[in-house]
Amino acid sequence: MKGLWKYLSPFAPDISGAVEVLFKMNGLIVIIDAGGCTGNVCGFDEPRWKSEKSAIFSAGLRDLDAILGRDEAMMKKIGDVLGVMENPSFLALVGTPVPSVIATDYQALRRMGERKFGITTLTMQTTGMELYDKGQERAYLELVKTYVINGKNGKCNPGAGGEATESLMGSGKIYTKDSEFMCPETDEMPSYMRPIGIFGATPMDLLDFDTTDTIKDRAACCGGQALVFGESVRDFEEAASFRENLVISPSGLAAASYMEKKYGVPYTVRYPLPNGFELAGLAQDEIEGKKILIVHQAVLAETIRSEMERVRGSVVVDTATFFMPFAKCRTIPEEDDFIKLVTDGNYDIIIGDPMLRRACRGWNGRFVELPQFSVSGVEKQ
């Protein structure tokens, strides 16, 4: 039955994804809920909450607030909190199922926030019914549209006109011409010295032993600086001058594509795997002639697939994801679809989050654990 989950349990929702992108940016983040959604985000989906400070609040809605649409009352509460914060970067209003039901007018909220408090107000129309990557996508887009447009480097368009070639992943594009373009208006540094921006590097998307620092190190291994979008507003402001963007999870694709179209910043799509993990921890002879299913976020799954196929042509690798698709990685909309895929696929090996084992009943192959925080919520011990 559509919507019925008998073996698996809910994955990280869009609310958590949006908050993860905003977490480190010194904004006031208000989740428009009664308390439960915020408890889920802070208590379970945001592992940094226990060790890092961020101004995440629940609107503390009560039934009459929702029924009567008391937006003014919420804004008053927000004003009180802004009064005790030191120079917040922005006010972010993050949606939940409650505003979905009462058809909250987010545009009106944005205008209210900006007029009343004179602060950049971002709105995330998350519903709690979509998954974390959709929330991240909304947050990235909102941030690039808000900050890059108004940013000081917005007029510079260094990559525009470059010739596109297909990237390794067959989807993102790399510009090969004009790579050392120098902006004539600003005398900016040559492009090879400009930073690489990384989209999609949050705890939800990374391998459980990776951090944003390890990702930055690997992304910048060929020289220059790598910056993870979501660590400061300034990175978004300056994003138009970046050499290129690296998308390591599908949640960053829309923002990277926007940056390419609007500012000519090229992007590639791949997960920078650590040395020795190209085959998800398996040895070459273990995958020889095998049929393998990788279930994870699509970019990581596809990166591993291409590595496996590169080193062992005899292997057959399918990739699938419960989240946004990418390239050959198919979407699994429902638990029933996953069970069918496993049952009909004749796989020798399934690589995925340990929680998925529960839905693999009756399948007798080898299960290789590749934890995904957005699935099981398990932190690396």
């Binding site: 019925l4 008998k6 869009d14 308390g35 439960g36 959604c37 408890g39 609040f57 009180d80 005790v84």
Partner: protein
């Protein structure tokens, strides 16, 4: 801006007439600091609504909600070992508009009954805020599912939106978990303890004292292993309410089954414990012989005071106690209580007044106040009681005193002293 707090003296002076609005969670944005996560959400750690609903023996739960409402169950159910009993019917936006998810429930119930190795006898359906706003008649839906499947189908509600109404989520779920009880022939020797979802400590004196006065069938939902055993709770002569959140359930049982109830509070003040047993005996027309327990607890208390004559405490809200009563009790034993981190209600004013008399400068912080964002981890206390208080004093000796199995009465006080002693000696060894 300094975090909001009131001294005991100020708080007591303001009284009920000028009760601070800052104590009400809906007054301001809610700050979910790591300290408060165990209690400020209805699906929180410990017994949140979903785990509580599974207190009915041989039951499973179907959460009918947007995915976000079940996300914490992904983690908590695995940790607490009830993931095999949780099922989800996830809603999408079309469901919100059309209400079609309700039509799917009977079939979903039928399908999940085939999943566990042993067929469940009860399915608890839990709905959330969106259905509160849609005005869903879950009782009717449950009846349909019951007719289709032949198992008990129990409605339950995780309405965070109603956290400050007459029937907040943890009150509502207590009513739900007793809703299957049906009237049986009254047994004058039977009593139900209504309070928590896990049992009270095995050595709690209440069991032995009750048996001595003829109350030989003492039942708690947390000890019921089968649905049959649970149903026997319907024969109780009366209910003993040990947690105010069970009052609504007790009222419901009184109306439906004609089962009266008496309330008791959990105290750590030994004089109050003694007085309360005397009052309970008076109400029941019996005399409880608690002298031996009183003596034993008194000796334990005196020995503890001798070993630790001077201690300063901070107390939190994530604790098996009313933090204000606990603070008052510790002050009455001669200790200092520097800070209490908890949301007060007008019902706490008698304790606050008593604290003000003994220690007017004790500070009461409201942990979920937005101003707590600026709270600096500083100051010195010797020991913290409560999981959340430990977060504010990472250097101090910590006694979480927060477990599923519940302390009560004289033995509860002794357990508190023993756990405190163990924590203090742990520090000495370090």
């Amino acid at each position: 801006m300094e975090p909001f707090y009131l001294t005991a003296k100020e708080f007591a002076r303001r009284g009920r007439e000028d009760f601070p609005k800052e104590e009400s969670p809906s007054h301001a944005l809610i700050y979910s600091s790591p300290a408060t996560l165990s209690y400020n959400s209805p699906g929180a750690n410990g017994y949140g609504v979903k785990r509580a609903g599974l207190a009915i023996p041989e039951s499973v739960m179907l959460l009918v909600a947007p995915g976000c409402c079940g996300r914490n169950s992904t983690i908590l159910s695995r940790v607490s070992g009830y993931s095999e009993r949780m099922f989800y019917l996830l809603m999408d936006e079309t469901d919100l508009v059309t209400g079609r998810h309700l039509k799917k429930i009977p079939q979903a119930v039928e399908e999940i009954l085939d999943v566990p190795e042993v067929r469940p006898k009860v399915v608890v359906i839990c709905i959330t805020c969106v259905d509160a706003l849609l005005g869903t008649d879950l009782v009717r839906v449950c009846k349909k599912a019951e007719e289709r499947t032949g198992v008990h189908v129990v409605p339950s509600y995780m309405y965070a939106l109603m956290s400050e109404g007459t029937k907040p989520p943890m009150t509502a779920i207590r009513q739900s978990v007793y809703s299957l009880l049906r009237p049986l022939r009254k047994n004058p020797h039977a009593v139900n303890l209504l309070g928590q979802f896990a049992p009270y400590d095995d050595d709690t004196e209440i069991y032995e004292m009750f048996r001595k006065v003829g109350l030989t069938k003492i039942r708690e939902i947390g000890r019921m292993k089968t649905l049959e055993e649970y149903m026997e709770m319907g024969e109780a002569n009366f209910n003993l309410v040990l947690n105010p959140e069970s009052r609504y359930a007790a009222d419901d049982l009184m109306q439906r089954l004609g089962m009266p109830y008496i309330e008791m509070n959990r105290f750590y003040d030994i004089q109050k414990i003694q007085r309360q047993y005397a009052l309970l005996g008076g109400a029941l027309g019996v005399k409880f012989d608690d002298a031996a327990y009183y003596e034993e607890a008194s000796r334990a208390l005196e020995a503890f005071k001798e070993r630790h004559p001077k201690l300063t405490f901070a107390i939190g809200q994530t604790v098996n106690a009313n933090p204000f009563e606990l603070a008052a009790a510790l002050l009455s034993y001669g200790y200092a209580v520097d800070r209490v981190f908890a949301n007060a209600t007008p019902a706490d004013l008698p304790f606050i007044t008593k604290i003000a008399e003994m220690s007017p400068d004790t500070r009461f912080y409201t942990s979920i106040s937005p101003t707590m964002m600026n709270y600096k981890l500083e100051g010195e206390v010797d020991i913290t009681i409560g999981k959340d208080a430990a977060w504010y004093y990472p250097e101090a000796v910590s006694v979480p005193f927060f477990s599923d199995v519940q302390p009560f009465g004289y033995k509860g006080l002794m357990r508190l002293l023993a756990e405190t002693e163990a924590a203090l000696s742990g520090k000495t060894e370090v």
